[in-house]
Amino acid sequence: MNFDYNEEQQLLADSVRRYMGKAYDFESRKKIVAGEGWSAQVWAQFAEMGLTGLVVPAEQGGFGGGAVDLMGVMEAFGEALVVEPYVPTVLAARLVARAGSAAQKQAILPAVAEGRTKLALAHTEKGARYRLESVHTSFSQGKITGQKPAVIGAPIADKVVVSAHGPDGIGLYLVERAHAKAKAWRTIDERLAADLAFQDAPAEKLQAGLDLVEEAFDFGAALACAEAVGAMKFACDATLEYLKTRKQFGVPIGTFQALQHRIVDLYIEHEQAKSMACLACSKMDQAADARERARAVSSAKIKIADAARRISQESVQLHGGMGMSEELKVSHTFRRLTALATEFGDADTHLGRFASL
């Protein structure tokens, strides 16, 4: 039993955290959000630090890492509220690594590792909510037709992994982003998204079905858990600092027991959430079978969704009016945690799956 990162994981987490402290403070982030919504310079630095190649197999110039290798990175991203669409590239690259032909892997993955290519994963459809099996996009004779709304990172992606009904049921296909009509928008937490429309878009088949989609969503959920834990950490620390400095009735408001007990509960929630993120990431890498993996990820996502709601809401409440203000990072953390609570399945969806396993 051991809850430590290994030396490499720790070094990586530390260097990401250092970089975030230096180049991704709240003011820098504001500029990125006000501009294009991502920074090519930041992305190049991700590549430089090896982040874009973390899940890419060694044969294609990556590190062949798993969820635990990414955990510290995601926590640091969560604290800094990174808006660059890192997770979509990770998930799509993993799918290519697992289900791509040798030629496909060679064509895509080294470029991903080097930061030259960005990917997106287009699966969910309108009305499907969190039901992974609900797919209407179709594939026939090398072409894809259908609608994929709210694809995170799609506005700047080069290639998209798209799910569609093909001759053998639901499969995954590689499509050039340029072959889709894209309507870009920003999510509630200021990330880049696009509604993609495919009309006879040329597509290459990957050797993957719904089970691999489910695995990819579990991987995404595990990363969302780790990212949320980082965001929760910031929300707790910022709120604690506020309780110590904000004065009313002549004293810091942190001297009031009614508020002390509430912030204590937030720290407890954060510890419990962190424990479940550890569980999700380690079972993602080490589970004996899909059932064990799914059980761990669902239980973690339920806890993280509940904790994200509670911590985000309470951190704003305890900041008073300032918590509502766009000026403070805590309100942006609120937005991020709100999104993370439902990304890759909300609590109710995972409660249903947890009970069925």
């Binding site: 039993m1 290994n6 419990q272 239980s299």
Partner: protein, 376 residues
């Protein structure tokens, strides 16, 4: 990161499990399953079985009977006891009085009391709370005035758990009513329950059970050699005890067993989504607490630092989960059922409300975290 036990840890767990299977008396286990009352003899019988095996006080130093297990082994052992449905080990002697004696006691006190605690020859209870002193413990009023080689004790303790079984009581008493800082007038005193002037009166809880008592002291003469640490240093002793390694605070093994029991018992509610989701959330909270507890242990093992305010968090979460389990168990019971088990389950719900109040109420635990961990 590896959340699984190592091969050695698993082998240790299996050894403990096999031993428990062979040595936990069926009638005691069965009483636990029925949520039946455990007598003084029941508790001591189990204590003595563990003592004979050399496992009754794993955390003690080896020279006094400790096992030399590391923190993870101790955790595994405690969780296995809970999971097997073993009767509880009463903490007042083993994990409260003994650590105090080991830290502050004289050689003579250690030799006199520790072996008897180990072998279950003395049954101990705790004399802290008073009618006017609950969470505000330092306001306690029971007086112990020095007269020659004795203290004369007058006053009253309350909520004395199993005081009616006890041979000895360790008490916080006021030896100097004159000092300005009230914590400084307090001392830690060991008192033989057979001493003339002590009266034990039952306090019946809402489930009808007799667990706790009022203890009255009327001109009780206590030899001065029963003072632990210096006169006026009782608060230091009490604080040490609060921070003492209590790794079973979360009672996770016991809760896991109750959860398994609940799932079996509530099998007929499987299709009730509202009930099902509440049960799932409780199960997940317990999983999280188990990992949190292991994370704290792991950190302790690496840094050698005592757990500090972490214990408060385990107490808060652990007791909330225990109460949640008894609540769902009661709700899963057929409202029309009046059999013995159904009634025991309802009474258990009543009884377990104590857990968030005793051993430092959960509100006091939050105060501790606010002050010690968060610096508020």
């Amino acid at each position: 990161m590896d959340l699984n036990y190592s091969a050695e840890e698993l082998a240790f767990r299996d050894e403990v499990r096999a031993w428990l299977r062979a040595n936990l008396p069926a009638d005691l286990r069965e009483k636990g399953e029925r949520y039946a009352h455990l007598s003084r003899d029941d508790l001591l019988r189990w204590h003595k079985i563990l003592a004979r095996q050399g496992w009754v006080a794993p955390a003690w130093p080896k020279e006094w009977g400790g096992t030399g297990w590391n923190v993870v082994q101790r955790y595994i052992f405690e969780e296995e006891l809970g999971f097997a449905g073993a009767p509880p080990l009463i903490p007042f002697g083993l994990t409260m009085c003994a650590p105090v004696l080991l830290r502050f006691g004289t050689e003579a006190q250690k030799k006199r009391f520790l072996p008897r605690i180990y072998h279950g020859e003395d049954f101990w209870c705790q004399g802290y709370s008073e009618p006017g002193s609950g969470s505000d413990l330092a306001s306690l009023k029971t007086k112990a005035l020095r007269q020659g080689d004795h203290y004369v004790v007058n006053g009253q303790k309350i909520w004395t758990t199993l005081g009616h079984y006890a041979d000895w009581i360790f008490c916080l008493v006021r030896t100097d009513p004159g000092v300005a800082k009230r914590q400084e007038g307090i001392s830690f005193l060991l008192i033989d329950m057979k001493t003339p002037g002590i009266t034990v009166r039952p306090l019946i809880l809402m489930d009808g059970a007799h667990e706790v008592n009022e203890v009255f002291f009327d001109e009780v003469k206590v030899p001065a050699e029963n003072l632990v640490h210096e006169e006026g240093k009782g608060w230091t002793v009490a604080k040490y005890l609060l921070g003492y390694e209590r790794m079973n605070t979360g009672r996770i093994g016991e809760s896991k067993r109750q959860l398994a029991r609940l799932k079996e018992y509530a099998a007929h509610m499987k299709e009730d989504v509202r009930f099902r989701d509440r049960l799932s959330r409780l199960e997940i909270e317990l999983t999280a607490l188990e990992i949190t507890n292991l994370r704290f242990l792991d950190r302790m093992r690496r840094t050698g630092q005592p757990p500090g305010a972490d214990v408060s968090m385990l107490k808060i979460k652990g007791t909330e989960i225990q109460q949640g389990l008894t609540e769902l168990m009661m709700e899963a019971t057929d409202p029309a059922a009046s059999d013995e088990l159904a009634q025991a389950i309802r009474k258990r719900y009543l009884n377990m409300r104590k857990t968030t109040i005793y051993a430092g109420s959960n509100e006091i635990q939050r105060n501790i975290i606010a002050k010690m961990t968060l610096g508020l």
